[in-house]
Amino acid sequence: MSAVSGIARRAGRRLLSSLPALLGVLVLTFLLMRVLPGDPAVFFASGPNAGQAEIEAIRHQMGLDRPVPEQLVRYLGDVATGNLGRSMTTGQPVLADLRQRLPASLELTVTALVLALALALPLGIAAALRPGSAVDHAVRFLCALGVCVPTFVSGLLLIYVFYYLLGLAPDPTGRIDVFASSPPDITGFYLVDFLLVGDLEGWRTAAGQLVLPALTMALFVLAPLARITRASMLAVLGADFVRTARSLGLPRRRIVVTYALRNAILPVLTIAGIVFSTMLGANVLVEKVFSWPGVASYALDALLSSDYAPVQGFVLLMASLFVLVNLTVDVLYGLADPRISVE
């Protein structure tokens, strides 16, 4: 089909055009990390009293005594071969660390996004269908409030209410209860892995741990999603072609769903992409509050202890993820809007 090939071409072009951006991120993070305070050689040395000679030796061994451009080229070469360096705090290769921790972050982020969309879409649509009604005012109030509460506050308050007061939620640390055993590592997503091995009890425990952080994150992005849904739905409901549909006597369901919603969803898609990437950043805060063993908390710990490599790796990972998210949004957009594939 020509439409599909059009989308594929577009996606391919987009991928190609994002390569320079990725390269830019690489260089930028490299330069940033170069000026970061703290000398890793000192950190790696045997102790605070290590001799100058020992530090020099380590610097030489790490290539830190070479000129910056040469270091950059070496770094790029390393990245190209999948060598992201070694974390000084964990002693593991950064790639292995990231691979191990990424599923935790993704599971949290994706759950939160699905949760947020599941709440925001109906709310936004309900508000747009009856502008000025109680529902509309409630949604707008929620939106105004939602963007004002930082995740690290709402997360802590949720912990207070559901863990301390009500006792409904488990101890808010980590992905799984300390006494429970984690599932076999198949996909890395606990919810999926527990289901795959048929361990419903384990699944429930994992889900219990996930609910509060996911809810925290979802509340944070609920407002922009509901807001754009409402605005876009309102705009479309006032559009000429919806008036045409009404003048033609189409059933209300068809007008609202096929004519209005399908058009209104396009801006929501774009915003959802941006929201996802915002969430990747906001992960840092939520993972810290809930001691979630994801990539963001890993990078944060490394950052605070002047450990270059994990931070570089994390930023690169975020950049690649963001390229992927954009690509997905592009493809979805292309599928939803025939005007795009022409161009």
Binding site: D240, A245, R246, L248, G249, R262, R339
Partner: protein, 570 residues
């Protein structure tokens, strides 16, 4: 092509004499932030089966509101405050949403202005047609088959392929045909057409309206045509109703109505509408000229032309917008530049104003080349003052943050040495000459009417006393009665100052009145050029003939058939 069999009408058919649609003292109010506004103040109107009614009036007259209220399609802010709407004798004023849905499409179909926006942008034409047919009770396969038939009925070439096309893949005229197919798909008894050809070129307008007229006649449908164009209404309607400020002021058969309008508003409207024979003075008969009629300036023979354009061309990203356009303009002469959208007339005028650089050719002003000065630097040229422009959209062309005074004063500050009292005096003088009340000078654009804004734009252009005034569709955004005043004002100014005009317009009647010579552009090239009187009386090229024939005309006192004939023969 035979019309598809009509499904049985939804509501019982009344006796023949009974009207199809009857509005009785209909009142509509709109809720605005400033409180409720009365849009219809009691409209009583009836349409018989098979009748074609033209609803004419200027903006704000309530003609579209009438149609939307009659079809029960008012948006949320609009409310029927009083009166009755009857369709086939049944009261539909307060019909429930479900019953209304059945009536829409099956009883009343509507077509709108801006057809592309009226179609769902992300659904194929075929599916949109099938949606309507399925809502009318057809099954999927039958709906698709019928969709194809209805596209063929509106004369869309290659209909099978067009079924899978999206609206953005079709031209404006094609979109309107699809819209017509949609509106007729449910075989309604009444078609309401709301300014269906606004934004379409005059030749497209003719084909679309001819198509509508034929389909209506074939199917014995009634039609309400809402338009600001008296000619269009006269040509396609059996009866005309004139609206002003939410009221119906007069109705009757077009010939009688236009030959002897009784209501003062109708008289003004008829007089102000340009026809192939009208003159500037006839447009505003009740208001005498402000200044005695001086003869149009005639330059002494032998003087070099004020403006000479040679081989002018412009390409945008490789596409030709204007190619090899040459003409000259004498001191005090008025030259018309006409053409349809995409003909390059606006591009040409922008290049001559030095707001846009030409890709090829030469522009000479008073014998000196100005084409070589980049548009970027032309504001420093001494000629900047001599060449001024009046823009098409009066709203868009005024800085929202400037008062009328500031707008007029701005070019004086930049291009002249006038300051203080002298500047102030010149602004006031220009405003007065442009017919702008001095009390309006402190106002901001959003506090002025369209006609007032147009006058601010004219005052601004004449304030620096230019030699050449480029007018880019100066009245296209105005109602005819406002247009009439502005046109005569421009003509007065030209006579008084000996100004030369380059008058860009799509309206041939206006150009004929305003300009001694006319150039017809098509696809960026000159098709025909010559003295206006000759060119309009005996066009030499087929394209000009087609353009002239496409203008819907009415002539007070002359039967329509004769007028239509005159257009195509002349």
């Amino acid at each position: 092509m035979p019309a598809p069999p009509l499904p049985t009408p939804l509501l019982p058919t009344p006796p023949l004499a009974a009207p199809l649609l009857a509005l009785d003292d209909l009142r509509v109010t709109f809720a605005t932030r400033q409180g409720p506004v009365e849009a219809l103040r009691g409209v009583t109107l009836a349409v018989a089966p098979g009748e074609t009614l033209g609803l004419v009036g200027e903006s704000g007259s309530g003609k579209s509101v009438t149609a939307f209220a009659a079809a029960r399609l008012l948006d949320r802010a609009g409310r029927i405050a009083g009166g009755r709407i009857r369709f086939r004798g049944g009261d539909v004023t307060r019909l429930s949403a479900a019953d209304l849905r059945a009536a829409h499409g099956a009883a009343i179909g509507m077509i709108f202005q801006n057809p592309r926006a009226a179609l769902n942008p992300i659904r194929t034409v075929g599916r949109q047609l099938a949606d309507v047919l399925r809502a009318g009770g057809l099954s999927g396969a039958a709906a698709r088959r019928r969709a194809l038939e209805s596209l063929e009925a509106v004369r869309i070439r290659d209909a099978v392929r067009r079924l899978d096309a999206y609206p953005h893949e079709l031209s404006g005229g094609m979109c309107q045909r699809v819209m017509i197919a949609l509106a007729l798909a449910g075989a309604p008894a009444l078609l309401i057409a709301d300014e269906p050809t606004t934004g379409l070129d005059v030749t497209t307008q003719k084909t679309v309206m001819d198509l509508v007229a034929r389909l209506i006649a074939e199917r014995g449908m009634a039609m309400i045509l809402i338009t600001h164009d008296l000619g269009l209404a006269a040509q396609y309607c059996g009866r005309i109703a004139v609206m002003e400020a939410g009221r119906l002021v007069e109705e009757g058969a077009p010939d009688a109505l236009f030959a002897a309008p009784r209501h003062p508003y109708t008289r003004r409207l008829v007089a102000a509408s340009p026809t192939p024979t009208s003159t500037l003075d006839a447009l505003v008969p009740e208001a005498p000229r402000a200044v005695p009629l001086a003869p149009r300036p005639r330059p002494a023979p032998g003087t070099p032309p004020l403006l000479e354009v040679q081989g002018l061309g412009k390409r945008f990203a490789g596409a030709v917008a204007v190619e090899d356009v040459s003409f000259s303009l004498r001191e005090g002469e008025s030259l018309g530049l006409v053409g349809e959208s995409g003909s390059g007339k606006s591009t040409t005028s922008r290049m001559i104003c030095r707001l846009l650089d030409a890709s090829a050719g030469e522009i000479l002003f008073e014998g000196g080349s100005i084409g070589g000065i980049p548009a970027r630097d032309f504001h420093r040229s001494p000629h900047r003052r001599a060449i001024q422009i009046v823009f098409q959209d009066p709203t868009d062309s005024l800085n929202p943050r400037f008062s009328a005074f500031e707008s007029i004063a701005h070019p004086l500050r930049r291009l002249t040495d006038l300051r203080g009292a002298a500047l102030h005096g010149r602004v006031v003088e220009s405003a007065e000459r442009a017919g702008l009340g001095l009390g309006l000078l402190e106002r901001f654009p959003h506090q002025l009417s369209g006609g007032q804004k147009a006058r601010v734009g004219i005052a601004r252009a004449i304030a620096v006393r230019p030699r050449l005034l480029v007018l880019d569709e100066p009245t296209a955004a105005l109602d005819v009665s406002v247009q009439a005043g502005v046109l005569r004002l421009l003509d007065d100014l030209r006579r008084q100052d000996g100004l030369a005009f380059l008058f860009v317009s799509h309206d041939l009647n206006v150009v004929r009145m305003m300009c001694e010579r006319t150039i017809v552009l098509q696809g960026g090239r000159v098709v025909e050029a010559g003295p206006s009187a000759e060119l309009f009386r005996a066009p030499r090229t087929a394209y000009t003939r087609e353009l002239l024939a496409a203008i819907p005309h009415f002539r007070p006192g002359v039967p329509r058939e004769a007028v239509a004939g005159a257009g195509s023969v002349a």
